[in-house]
């Protein structure tokens, strides 16, 4: 082992990190000492004094050791996207679906509307009006949370509309599955059903979600 690395190892003591990482740190610090000492030698200092000067610049090796350990063990903070988008979006989704479940169990019966589109095309859609009325609150909570977490305007709007987006994703999956698996159903019926569902369960809830979010959406401030 090179002399510089050996000296650093002695002064620093055992770090207790995984062996590969510990050796890497010792090697890197030894290289630093070597390069700095070489520069000092180029300016006329003898090798021993140069190395001594570089090592003596560290006034407290115990403190240095602790600082390295603190840096190595620093919890990687929850990343920005998780805090500013996924968590508020998940909150909105749970809140929205929780309210829907509550209204379906305890609320008034949903209102049904029937669409007649020709001889064989008959589709109905259901509206849970009280649930729709609560969606501005859901949008507001998600947008406010995202903004507080430093989310961009895009993240705030995406978080607020997450319940509608999730349903859209679900309907797309059902549509794909229906087209692939059900050979007997007319594609016209399947796609019309999908469009009706999209309007009633995606676009319609998205409007109150956005309306609720609107007063809270702001450009994020610079970190302070």
């Amino acid at each position: 082992m090179p002399v510089n690395r050996e000296q650093v190892k002695d002064l620093l003591g055992r770090l207790g990190l995984p062996q590969g990482r510990e050796e890497e740190i010792q090697r890197e610090l030894g290289d630093h000492v070597e390069d700095h000492a070489a520069d000092l030698q180029a300016r006329g200092m003898d090798a021993e004094s140069a190395t001594r000067e570089v090592l003596d610049a560290v006034s407290n090796w115990q403190q240095f050791r602790n600082a390295i350990l603190a840096a190595e063990s620093e919890e990687v903070s929850m990343n920005y996207r998780t805090k500013a988008l996924w968590l508020p979006a998940m909150c909105a989704l749970i809140l929205s679906n929780g309210l829907l479940a509550i209204f379906q169990v305890f609320g008034p019966a949903p209102r049904f509307y029937w669409f007649h589109g020709g001889k064989s095309l008959e589709i109905f859609c259901a509206f849970v009006i009280p649930w729709l009325l609560t969606q501005p609150v859901v949008g507001a909570v998600a947008a406010y949370w995202s903004r507080r977490a430093g989310g961009t305007v895009r993240y705030q709007l995406l978080a607020a509309t997450a319940p509608a987006t999730a349903l859209m994703g679900l309907f797309l999956l059902i549509l794909a599955f229906a087209i692939i698996s059900d050979k007997h159903a007319s594609h016209t019926i399947t796609i019309t059903g999908f469009l009706v569902l999209t309007v009633t369960w995606v676009l319609l809830p998205a409007l109150p979600l956005l309306a609720g979010a609107a007063p809270f959406v702001r450009r994020p401030q610079t970190r302070s």
């Binding site: 890197e28 610090l29 700095h36 570089v54 620093e74 970190r223």
Partner: protein, 112 residues
């Protein structure tokens, strides 16, 4: 005149990110460049530089890789990651605002 450790730590992140935005550098080169470019006002030794670099690496702002230095020796070069690049603009803005504020209060730009 030396710089207080707390100020040095805060400004160190910006200095390192800005340097690595130009090219990957190994630890000693980073400390040497900072000293040269600030006329020796800002200086980093082993104890002040590496905990900062390791913390930045943990946060994913920089990534260290063993590569051959111009001297022909293997050195751990730090590269700026896309995440680190994203950090640079707000840090620049933040420090700009900080100095403007200090200037308004204490006329820092005219001091010294």
């Amino acid at each position: 005149m030396g710089i207080d450790t707390r100020i040095k730590r805060g400004s160190g992140e910006l200095a390192i990110l800005a340097l690595l935005d130009r090219e990957p550098l190994h630890g000693y080169e980073i400390s040497k460049r900072i000293a040269q470019m600030t006329g020796g006002v800002l200086q980093f030794n082993l104890a002040s530089l590496y905990p900062l670099l390791y913390r930045m690496e943990k946060r994913g702002w920089v990534k260290g890789r063993w590569e051959e230095a111009p001297s022909g020796r293997q050195r751990r070069h730090y590269h700026l990651t896309p995440k680190g690049k994203k950090q640079l603009a707000p840090l620049r803005e933040e420090w700009g605002l900080f100095f403007q504020a200090l200037h308004r209060i204490a006329g820092v730009a005219h001091a010294g």
